[in-house]
C-alpha cells in the first residue's frame, strides 16, 4: 500500500498539461525519432505549430509531395533499420500517402505516418479536406487508428511504434483530428508499449521443427538456400552467414534480400526470379532440399508455381505464420525470428562442403557470363549498356555505397550487377514495383545513413514521376548522387512488347526534358554522357562531387534484360536470350 501511494505521488508530480500535438512530438522524442518527412496543411497545423518548438530535437524535412515524403520515410527506414516517420495533412495529404503505404506494406517497411484530420464534430460531413482515411488505408497498413481525444495519444503512439517495428514490420497510420491536436490534457509521461494481447510478434520457437529441418539439411545432397529481406529485417546477417558457412550451403537472394550477404561471398550464388541468375533458377528445380529464409515465394521469384521445386523438400523459416504454406507447401515450417531460429539450426547442422553441388552453380554462372553477362558488362558496340554503367560504378564504389533503385530495366540490371559489401545497402521497391520510388527514397536513405555514399539509379520514366523532390534535395542540401539511365523508353514495358506483343510499341516512347538543365534550375550540378570514353570519369566526378549531383547516361534504346523467366513459365525454362 505504501509503495502504491509513493508511486501515485511521483506520477502526480510529473503530470503536466500539454496539448495533443506536443504529446505526439514527446512520443517521437521518447522513441528516438530524429527525422520526420512531411508536408503541412490545414488539418495538421497544430502539430506543425508544436514542431516549431522542437526543432532542436526533431529534424523535419519538407518534401514536395506526400508521396515523396513517405518514400523518403521508407528509404530512411531501410537504410537505418529504424522506424520511418511521416507527416501529412488530411484529405489529399492522406490519399497521397497511399502508394507509399502499399509499398511499405508489401515490402515490410516499418513506418509511423501521422495524418491530420478535420475536427471530430465534422467527421462524416464532407468537410473541407475530409476523407475517410482509416477505411482507405486499412488494406495497406499493418495497423491504423483514428484519435479523437488527446488523452489517447501517448498510448496509441506507443502502440504504433511497437507494431510498426516488431514481428514482420509494416506501416502504421495514425489519424488525429484537429481538436485532439489542440486539446490540452494531463500528460503523465510516455511509456513504451511492450505487449498487446491480440498481437504476438515473436513466437516461441519450436525446437522440434528446427531439429526436423536440421535433419533434412544433414541428409541433403543438393541443399539450396534462398533468402529474402527477413535476414535484414531480423538483423541476422551474421547468424545467416554462420549457418550457410557451416553447412556449406549455396545461397541465392530475392531482390529484397540483396546485400544481406556480401556479393563476393563464395556461397553467394546470385539472384532468384524473373531476371535472376541462370543457376539459381534452374537449380531450384534440381535441389533436394530448398531452405527458404525470410522470403515469401513471390510470383516473380517462383515463376509457374505448379512446376516450382516439386522434387524438393521445402524448409520455410519465417516470422509471419501466414506466409508458411501460402504459395509453396513447406515440408517443415519453422515459425520464428530468424535471429533466433538460425543459430539453433546452425548448432544442429553438420559441417559440410557440398563442393560438387556448389560448383554446379559456378558452371551455370560461367555459361551465363559467356552468353549474357560478359557482353552486357563489356559491350563492343558503340552504344552504352546499363550493365557497363553498373560495372564502372562498382569499380569506383568498391561495393561500399547504398544503391537506391527505381523500378524497371535499370532496377533489374542494378540488382543483378551492383556489388555490395554491407547489409542494408540495396533499397528498392520490390513487391509493389512503384515507379518514382527511387529519388525520394534516396533522400530518406541519406538521412538514415548520413555517413554513407547514397547513389540512386533511376530510369527516365521513373525519374519523371517524382522529380519534384529535387526541390527537397536543393533546400536541404541532401548529398545524393542521381544516376539516370536514359534509354528514351519505358524500357521494361517495351521489352515485353517486343518479346510477347510483336513489337507493338504502344505508348512506351517517352520524351525527356534536358535533365542537366533541370538539375541546374534546382542548383544541382550535373552532366550527361553518351560516350564510353566519358563514362568512367563522369561517374568518378559524380562520386567525388561535394553534395548532390545528377548524371545522365544515354544507354541503348532497345536493350533487353536477360536472362528472363517469361511469365507463366517454370524457373527452369529461363531464357538466356
Amino acid at each position: 500500500m505504501e509503495t502504491l501511494e509513493v508511486k501515485k505521488e511521483t506520477v502526480a508530480k510529473q503530470t503536466q498539461t500539454i496539448s495533443g500535438s506536443q504529446a505526439v512530438l514527446e512520443a517521437f522524442v521518447a522513441e528516438g525519432v530524429d527525422t520526420i518527412f512531411g508536408y503541412p496543411g490545414g488539418a495538421i497545423m497544430p502539430i506543425y505549430d508544436a514542431l516549431y518548438d522542437y526543432h532542436d530535437k526533431l529534424k523535419h524535412i519538407l518534401v514536395r509531395h506526400e508521396q515523396g515524403g513517405i518514400h523518403a520515410g521508407q528509404g530512411y527506414a531501410r537504410a537505418s533499420g529504424r522506424v520511418g516517420v511521416v507527416f501529412g495533412t488530411s484529405g489529399p495529404g492522406a490519399t497521397n500517402l497511399v502508394t507509399g503505404l502499399a509499398d511499405a506494406m508489401i515490402d515490410s517497411t516499418p513506418l509511423v505516418c501521422i495524418t491530420g484530420q478535420v475536427f471530430a464534430h465534422l467527421l462524416g460531413t464532407d468537410a473541407f479536406q475530409e476523407i475517410d482515411v482509416i477505411n482507405i488505408t486499412t488494406p495497406v497498413t499493418k495497423w491504423n487508428y483514428q484519435v479523437t481525444d488527446a488523452t489517447e495519444i501517448p498510448a496509441v503512439l506507443a502502440k504504433a511504434f511497437y507494431i510498426a517495428r516488431t514481428g514482420r514490420p509494416g506501416p502504421v497510420l495514425i489519424d488525429i483530428t484537429k481538436n485532439a491536436q489542440l486539446q490540452q490534457f494531463e500528460y503523465e509521461g510516455y511509456t513504451a508499449c511492450t505487449h498487446i494481447r491480440s498481437y504476438r510478434p515473436k513466437p516461441i520457437v519450436r525446437k522440434e521443427f528446427v531439429a526436423e529441418a536440421a535433419e533434412l539439411i544433414n541428409k541433403a545432397e543438393k541443399p539450396f538456400v534462398i533468402f529474402g529481406q527477413g535476414i535484414i529485417l531480423g538483423k541476422a546477417e551474421k547468424e545467416f552467414k554462420a549457418f550457410i558457412e557451416k553447412a556449406g550451403l549455396p545461397a541465392a537472394w530475392t531482390i529484397m534480400g540483396l546485400s544481406a550477404l556480401e556479393t563476393d561471398h563464395p556461397l553467394n550464388v546470385g539472384m532468384l526470379g524473373m531476371h535472376g541468375n541462370y543457376g539459381p533458377n534452374v537449380l531450384t528445380n534440381d535441389c533436394d532440399v530448398l531452405i527458404a529464409i525470410g522470403m515469401r515465394f513471390d510470383d516473380r521469384v517462383t515463376g509457374r508455381l505448379d512446376k516450382y521445386a516439386k522434387q524438393a523438400k521445402v524448409i520455410h523459416l519465417d516470422i509471419d505464420p501466414s506466409e508458411i504454406d501460402k504459395n509453396v507447401k513447406a515440408t517443415v515450417g519453422v515459425w520464428g525470428d530468424c535471429k533466433e531460429t538460425l543459430p539453433l539450426l546452425t548448432k544442429l547442422v553438420e559441417e559440410k562442403k557440398h563442393t560438387a553441388w556448389v560448383n554446379k552453380f559456378k558452371d551455370y554462372m560461367a555459361e551465363e557470363v559467356k552468353e549474357v553477362i560478359y557482353d552486357e558488362l563489356n559491350p563492343t558496340s558503340e552504344i552504352l549498356t546499363m550493365g557497363e554503367v553498373i560495372r564502372n560504378l562498382n569499380e569506383l564504389t568498391e561495393g561500399n555505397a547504398i544503391v537506391v533503385t527505381d523500378v524497371g530495366q535499370h532496377q533489374m540490371v542494378a540488382c543483378r550487377y551492383a556489388k555490395f559489401n554491407k547489409s542494408k545497402s540495396n533499397i528498392t521497391s520490390g513487391g509493389l514495383g512503384t515507379m518514382g520510388f527511387g529519388l525520394p527514397a534516396a533522400i530518406g536513405a541519406k538521412f538514415g545513413a548520413p555517413d554513407r555514399q547514397v547513389i540512386t539509379i533511376i530510369g527516365d520514366g521513373g525519374f519523371q514521376m517524382t522529380l519534384q523532390e529535387l526541390g527537397t534535395i536543393m533546400q536541404n542540401e541532401v548529398d545524393v548522387k542521381i544516376l539516370i539511365l536514359n534509354n528514351q523508353f519505358l524500357g521494361m514495358v517495351r521489352q515485353w512488347q517486343q518479346l510477347f506483343m510483336d513489337k507493338r510499341y504502344s505508348f512506351v516512347d517517352i520524351a525527356s526534358p534536358d535533365y542537366v538543365t533541370l538539375a541546374k534550375a534546382y542548383r544541382i550540378e550535373g552532366q550527361s554522357v553518351s560516350k564510353r570514353e566519358d563514362l568512367h570519369n563522369a561517374l568518378s566526378t559524380m562520386l567525388n562531387h561535394k553534395g548532390s549531383y545528377l548524371l545522365e547516361v544515354m544507354v541503348g534504346k532497345e536493350n533487353n534484360v536477360f536472362p528472363m523467366v517469361p511469365q507463366g513459365c517454370s524457373v527452369s525454362e529461363i531464357r538466356l536470350k
Binding site: H195, R197, S198, Y199, I204, R206, P321, W335
Partner: protein, 196 residues
Amino acid sequence: MNKQEFTITVYTENHIGLLVRIATMFSRRKINIESLNTSPSEEEGIHRFTIVINEFEEVVRKLARQIEKQVEVLKAYYNTNDEIVWQELALYKVSTDEIAEKVQVERLLREHGARAVVIRKDYTVFETSGHREETDKLVAVLAPYGLIEFVRSARVAIIKASPGFHEKLREFEEAMPGEEQVENEFLNKQDSVFTM
C-alpha cells in the same frame, strides 16, 4: 476437394474499424460472405465474429491465418458444418386475417417450432430458429398467404470441440509467455490448422 460451407469464428478486440479490416480480407479475394455476425463472446471485452463462406478448404485455411495476423485479432478458427452447432433466427410477418382464416395456426406452430412474437389485429409476427432449410420451409408454407416481411439473421455457431476462449486469452495476456504456452500449434497439425 470441392467448395463447401465453412464457418469462421474470429475472436477479436472490440475496436472500431476492425469489421472493415476483416471484411476486406474476403472482398480482396472476391469471396462472397454468406453470413456475418458480430457479438460478444464468453469473455468480457472480447468480440466474436461468425462468418460463413463457401470455399475450398485450402483457401479458407490461408484466409484464417491472414485474418489472425491482423493486430487486433486474437484467434481465428474455421470449421465445417459437422464440427459446429449452429442456428439462424428468422422472423415472418403475415396478415392476421389471412392467417387466422386460412391456416391452421396451431399446426403451423407445432410443425415448424414457430412462436408468435406479436399478434395484432393487422399483422402477426412469427419467429423460428434453426438451420437454413428449416427456416426456409416456413417461408414456403406462408408464402401463399402473403408473407409481408421476412428476415433471417446471420448464423451463430458454437464449436463442438472448443474448450472456450478463457485459457487462450489468459495465455495471450501474459506479457512473458510461459514454456507451456503452445504458440504455434498450427505446426503440429498442418492439415487442420486453426481448428480446436
